[in-house]
Structures are given as structure tokens and as C-alpha cells.
Symmetry: C2
Subunit: 464 residues, 2 copies
């Protein structure tokens, strides 16, 4: 068979075996793999074992690997051909509280038609991330069943602590660097489509630098009658420092802050402009109506491609009920920066500290506490592999797949880059209404079905 | 006898009867009149009864008057001559915790010589306020004993809830307005001398306006990755508003804020300049070294005669351990203003609110909660009665008595002005090292002795 006729046969196999695939997904959904609750540790092991066995059945060398926490399933296809992908997903799920708000047992999946007429499967983990994970495994199954092999080399890394902060994974990656860094690209299936009709690949994630500052003036709390005017008030100083972090036009006012911020390409800008993003509706979900970022830029641009400085917390003095006329000794703030393109977390941290220190009036000392930092992730949007994935998705969905960003960070992607030096394509088929982490979580059967077909196509495309 | 020879005789009587006076003070100090602890309510009643009996013995019409809390002792001298003074003090005391730090029983007064060679009496309330109260009562006793009468009409108001927030007094004053407002002037003995050698009358107290603001942007907490740049951050807005309240030169930046602030007279300014106030030492007690108030003014001036704006508390977002990348929905601050001269609390409140509202960006709402307000108190420093008191104090101490201010508020003085329309002279003989509210509270025997003589002279002077 040629690749094209093979692809058609594999897609036809997916079409003909959807119900069997759904049954396998249901079996996985019945395992109560809540990672954060130690009581469910045996269920996490069950899920890891179930996945290993499924992958072994498909001819993978697969096994649950022990960690200080829940096992990580690592699998390698024996096929020694073509490019090599490392697929990542997680088999653990969020707790189900509040249980009373579920309309059915969270661990007894129900397939039904929803109010919009869509077939959906309801269970904890249906979308996040078991349903998504199984789209890839089912795609591999279809290829193996029809052709006896996979079009590319596939490794898998299926972790069990994503919903509990993933404490074991960074060390695991370091320990298994040689084994895992052999891949050419990572594929992460834990995101959503741009909308129900438009597939997307996320290639930009903002980085993060978090800082805590504590300003001390007097060595004890003072009475504002006895000292008000004479003593410096750290609340006032902190407010002045925070106010100095932003300009009136919404940009960050720290010197050198934008030095390493690259403008996105006109092509990407045009593509984002064409997404039909409804700024008013987006802000409306939060009860807002006017964007707060840099003027003259779209919200998508300021969220995905521009850095931000946010005051995540601040406190000083008396904050209980009633009133206390105190001049506190200290005031604190937690401040974080989201980074883009080539911004260096340490360089930004130092620029921030210099900016703050330069403003300290007499009698004030400041203590900085760093809370970690990670650079932004940007996968070059003109790479050949990315273009192949885009084409495959476009073919499956009949609509041009879009390259998007994310304003947040996805730690595993940073770890893949840092430890394994791997770029990641974030490709997922979830929808915004999937109620992940909430009662009655669902995954559309169409997401599962066309997601599986999408991966069938992507694996073929990457082999070209 | 002429007034002068009468005065000499009365002073001589004080000199000859110091020990008996100290015994009476000790008897009062043995009563455990802790007002804040309901277990000591009977002791508060005992103290009120003891004082009433003492005053009755001196010919006063005196009785404990019931209130919802502890009794108020009201006493009137039957002498229908001359000006009429209303003397205020409080018979209740602070709790004694931590008891282990006392070197003797807090309620078994000890007279001893301290490390500086001064005779002191140690007990809870020795200074605050039983010792001070008894200087006035002993002065009345001396006048009555020697001359059979008092040189002026004297009423007394001895309350029992000063250390527990004085909840009953404002209503009590209102209910007894006719009875109490007949006085010409109030005398409050609950303050200290300028230093151990220099008597003082406090005639200026700053007023207070307290405001709480809550700024709301989004209708729920947001993820700073998903919304950072797009959504307005109320912490940032609050910081900008607070920063806008002060100028770089230490003044308050609210329009119209200083409209009703009068400059103090050159005479008073000169007197304060001559007090020998050590700015460095004062700031040093708080670990500070540079005054924060308006440049070009002394600390005493900014504390006593200039208004201030202090951020007593602020909070927004996540303030616990670690970090949370949240954009909070709300941020709050507690802000108070100390007022001077003719500043109107309501006018200042409205000026503040206008100033804040004018800066609110789109998508922000603000809620103001007023926490009360009271005007500043200023007793004209050129009044005849004040000059008489100053002269009497000067004569007793051999050093010019000074007119000072206080940066804080003393609520009862405001209530006397508001309810009874009475000006108050704050005259006290305590010293800064008296450890009021602390273990081993003491009062110098010299304070008690010369305090009593001071009142003997002031009563004579006011009669002139």
C-alpha cells in the first residue's frame, strides 16, 4: 500500500471501531485515579498497569516506572523508522467534590446526548486527560492493527501526578534523560481546540518570574497619632513602588523590561486577527469591558505575546474588622511577571529589584524572596514538522488549523525543553465547555473520534 | 486670710501630710478595678464607692451613678463661688498580664527608691490614672481642711471604663448634659509632663477621620496567566490611588485638604522650638532617622499641628505562604486622616472620596465605608484661664510651663467639647518612664506631691 492508501485504510478502521474505542476509554475512566488523595494510590497504580498492558498489547515496550509518588508509564514502539515523537499525557484525575452536584457516578461513565444534540461521555477525567490521552493511543492501535506498524517512532510518557503538582516528574526526566531525549519532538494532548470547529496547535507559552518583597520601616508597629507624619509608612512606600510598575498606557514601566521582547511576525498577527476572537465576550466572562494591557494591541496579543506584571497579593498593617490606627512596621507584596519570547527570568528579576531599590526612601529596607522563574516557550512557527501537523489537522477538520498562544505556563513543556531539549506541540481536542475540574466533566464523542483520526493523520504526516 | 496667705497655708498642709496622702492612694491602688474583665466588676464598684465616700467626707455631694457598664462617680462641691471646673479622671486600670514580669504584687503598692534615686510607688494604676486622680482630690482635701472651702466651684467626673473603650460615657454625658455643662472648663489629669522638670498643658489634639475602601474589578478571582494584561488588577489600582495621596515632599496631595489648616502662632512655634525636643532620639525609639512629614517643618509641628494621611492597612489577593498567580477581584485599604485646627471631618471625607473616585479607571467600582470622624481640639492659647494655669504650674515647678500638642486623639476631650461645649486643659504629672499598661507601673512620689501642690495653686489661680 502507498502511504495515502494506508492512511485511508487506517482512518476507515477508526470509523468502524469507534464503539470499541469508547469501551476502552470507559474502562480507563472507571479507575478512580485521584492523585492528590493517598487513599487512591492503588487506583493510580491500577491505571498505570492498565495502560502498560494496553500498550504492550499494541507491541510497545511498556512498563509502569516507580517514582517517589505515582508511577510514570513509559512506552517505546519497537519500530526503528522515521522521526521520533514523545507523546505526553496524564492518567490521574482531579477529586470529584462536590459529589452532590454530579448527575451520575463520576467513575461510571455515561454516554448521552446533550442539550445541543452532541453525543458526550460524562465522567471524571473524560476530558482531562484520559479522553484526550486515549485519542492518541487509539490512533496508534488503528495504525498497528491495519498496517502492523507505526509510521513514526513513538515513545510515550504517561504521568500520574499532573493534578497534584507533579512533584516527581522533573527528577524522573533528569534520571531518564538519555532514554527520553532521543525523541525529535514532544506532543502534549492536554489542551483544547480554538473553538468546536477549529483545531489549533499552541506553540507559545508565557514564562513566569515570581517575586515577594517585604518593606520594613520602623522596627515595630507605631501608633498613627503619636508617629503619623514623623514615621515613614511602609504601606505608602509599597503602594508607591507598585504604582511605579505600570505606565498609564498599560505597559510595564521597569527599565530594560522589553529589551528581549520580540514582535510576532505579521503572518501570525494576521492569523490571530482572523480568529474572530470576541474581546467583549471574553472580558464579559469576568464582568469586565475594557482591556487593561498596552493600548494599540489586541487582547490576544497582550495575553499571548506580551509580558505582564501582576500584583498577586499585597498586605500591610491591620486588615481585620473595624479599624486600628497603626503605622505598621512592614508591608509585603507578591508580584509576578509573565514572560514572552527571549526574556530571561533572572535578568527580569534583577531589573525589577534594581527598579524597586532605586525608589526606596530613607529608613526603609527591603527583602526580596524569589519564587522561581521559567522562560517563555516559543516553538518556531515555520518549522517543517509543525507545518505537517497543521496540514494534517486542517485536512481532518476541514478548517485551517490555527497557531495560538497561551498566557499561562504549562510546566511540563518547560521541563521538556530544559531537561530534554525538546520542542513541544500542544495539540488537544477538548472544548471550552468540558467542565474540567468540575462536576459532570464531559468529552464530546466527536472530540474523541475526530481526535483519534487527527492523530492518525499527524503520525502519517510526520513520517513524510 | 488673704488668698496668698491662704495658699501658703494650704501648700504647707500638703507638705506636712504627704504620708497620709500616700496612704490614701495606696488604699485606692489595692482595689483591683480592672474594667475590661467582668470578673472584676465588683472591684470597680468598690473603687467607685470608695471615691464617693472620700469625696463625701470632703463635703462633696458625691455618688456612684449607674451606667450599662461600670459606675461613674459624679461629685459637686457645694461652694457656690467663682468659676466652675469639671475635673475628669478614671479609676479603672489595665489588666496586669504578664503577671510573672511584676517584681511585686500589682495590687499591693510598694514605695521604694529606684535606680535613679527617686522615690516611687509601684502598683497597677499608680500612674494611670489613680495616682494622677488623687493629686487633684488631695489638693481639694488640703483646701477644705485648711480653709473649709474650695477657691472655685468643683465638679468631678470619675469614670470606670477608660481602659475598656469607655462605651458608657458618651451616653452618660448626653443624659446628664444640664448637670455637667454648667462648668466653665474641664480639667483632665491623664497626661504627662513635657519632661521630669517641665510641666505642660496640652491644648491641641488632632482629630481623626477613618475610611475603608474596597476596589472591585472582575467579578471573581482570575488566573494571571489567562487574564494578565487583559483584566484590570485591583491591587495595582489601589496602589496607584494610595500613591496619589502623598506628594514627594511629604504633604497630603488631596485637593482642598489644607484649606482649613491654620498655621500656629509664631509665639507657639518659638515655644516648641525652645523645648529642646531631640528629633533624632525620638525617631530612634522606632528605629528611624529621617522624618517623613512635610519638609521644612519640625517633627513636633508635623505631629501636633499638621494633618496626616496614613494607610493603616491594606490587603488584596493571595497573602499566605508561597505563591498564587491570581488576579484578585477586590483589594481593600483602611486609611485614616489626623486633623488639625478647623478641618471638618466630613469635608475631608468627601474630599478624599472625590479624589479617589476621580482616579478610578474603567471596570472598577469602589465602596467606601466610613469609620467615624472627630474634629481636632484646639484650646485658644491666649485664654485667661489657661494663662492662670500656666502661671500656677510655672510657680510650682520653677520652670516655665509649656503649651504642647498631641498627635493622637483623647476621645473624652472631644466628647466634652461636643456634648458639653467645654474646653479642656490636659494637665498631668506622669513621666515618660512610668510603664503605664506594663508590668511594674510606677508613679514618682514627687509627681504625686508636686502634682497635688500644682492643683492647689491652679485652683487658687483660677479663682482670681
Amino acid at each position: 500500500m502507498t502511504m495515502n492508501s494506508e492512511l485511508s485504510a487506517v482512518l476507515a478502521h477508526v470509523d468502524d471501531n469507534l464503539d470499541e474505542g469508547l469501551e476502552r476509554l470507559k474502562a480507563l475512566l472507571r479507575i478512580k485515579s485521584i492523585s492528590t488523595d493517598p487513599a487512591y494510590a492503588p487506583e493510580c497504580r491500577r491505571a498505570a498497569n492498565w495502560l502498560s498492558e494496553q500498550l504492550q498489547d499494541l507491541g510497545f515496550e511498556a512498563a509502569p516506572r516507580q517514582t517517589p509518588g505515582h508511577p510514570v508509564v513509559v512506552a517505546h514502539s519497537p519500530d526503528q523508522v522515521g522521526p521520533h515523537v514523545l507523546f505526553y499525557a496524564h492518567y490521574d484525575v482531579q477529586p470529584v467534590d462536590p459529589l452532590s452536584q454530579w448527575h451520575s457516578d463520576p467513575f461510571e461513565p455515561v454516554v448521552q446526548t446533550d442539550a445541543k444534540g452532541n453525543r458526550i461521555i460524562i465522567a471524571r477525567g473524560a476530558s482531562d486527560d484520559k479522553g484526550q490521552m486515549m485519542t492518541f493511543i487509539e490512533a496508534c492501535r488503528a495504525w498497528k492493527t491495519v498496517t502492523g506498524t507505526l509510521p513514526v517512532r513513538v515513545s510515550m510518557l504517561l504521568e500520574g501526578e499532573e493534578e497534584s503538582g507533579g512533584p516527581s516528574l522533573p527528577d524522573f526526566l533528569t534520571t531518564h534523560r538519555d532514554e527520553l531525549s532521543a525523541a525529535d519532538i514532544a506532543l502534549v494532548c492536554d489542551t483544547r481546540m480554538w473553538d468546536a470547529a477549529t483545531p489549533s496547535v499552541i506553540t507559545m507559552l508565557r514564562g513566569l518570574v515570581a517575586e515577594e518583597i517585604e518593606i520594613t520601616c520602623a522596627r515595630k508597629d507605631l501608633h498613627s497619632g503619636m508617629f503619623g507624619n514623623a514615621a515613614r509608612n511602609p504601606n505608602q512606600i509599597l503602594a508607591q513602588i507598585i504604582a511605579s510598575l505600570r505606565t498609564a498606557d498599560g505597559s510595564v514601566a521597569i527599565p530594560d523590561f522589553y529589551d528581549d521582547v520580540a514582535e510576532i511576525s505579521p503572518e501570525l498577527k494576521a492569523q490571530w486577527a482572523g480568529l474572530g476572537f470576541d474581546e467583549g465576550a471574553f472580558l464579559g466572562t469576568a464582568g469586565l469591558s475594557v482591556p487593561a494591557g498596552e493600548t494599540g494591541r489586541t487582547i490576544l496579543e497582550t495575553l499571548w505575546a506580551r509580558p505582564t506584571c501582576e500584583i498577586n497579593g499585597m498586605t500591610g498593617g491591620y486588615t481585620g474588622d473595624g479599624f486600628k490606627t497603626v503605622i505598621p512596621a512592614t508591608a509585603c507584596a507578591k508580584i509576578s511577571f509573565r514572560l514572552v519570547s527571549n526574556m530571561d527570568p533572572e535578568k527580569i528579576r534583577q531589573a525589577f529589584r534594581r527598579h524597586v531599590e532605586a525608589q526606596l526612601p530613607p529608613d526603609c529596607t527591603i527583602r526580596f524572596t524569589g519564587h522561581g522563574g521559567s522562560p517563555a516557550i516559543t516553538v518556531p512557527s515555520d518549522g517543517a514538522a509543525l507545518q505537517k501537523a497543521i496540514s494534517a489537522l486542517t485536512e481532518e477538520w476541514g478548517k485551517r488549523a490555527v497557531i495560538t498562544g497561551s498566557g499561562g505556563s504549562i510546566p511540563v513543556v518547560g521541563e521538556f525543553k530544559r531537561v530534554l531539549d525538546l520542542d513541544t506541540f500542544l495539540i488537544g481536542f477538548a472544548r471550552i465547555d468540558n467542565k474540567v475540574h468540575s462536576p459532570n466533566e464531559k468529552y464530546d464523542v466527536e472530540s474523541f473520534y475526530k481526535g483519534t483520526r487527527s492523530w492518525v493523520r499527524i503520525l502519517a504526516a510526520l513520517a513524510d
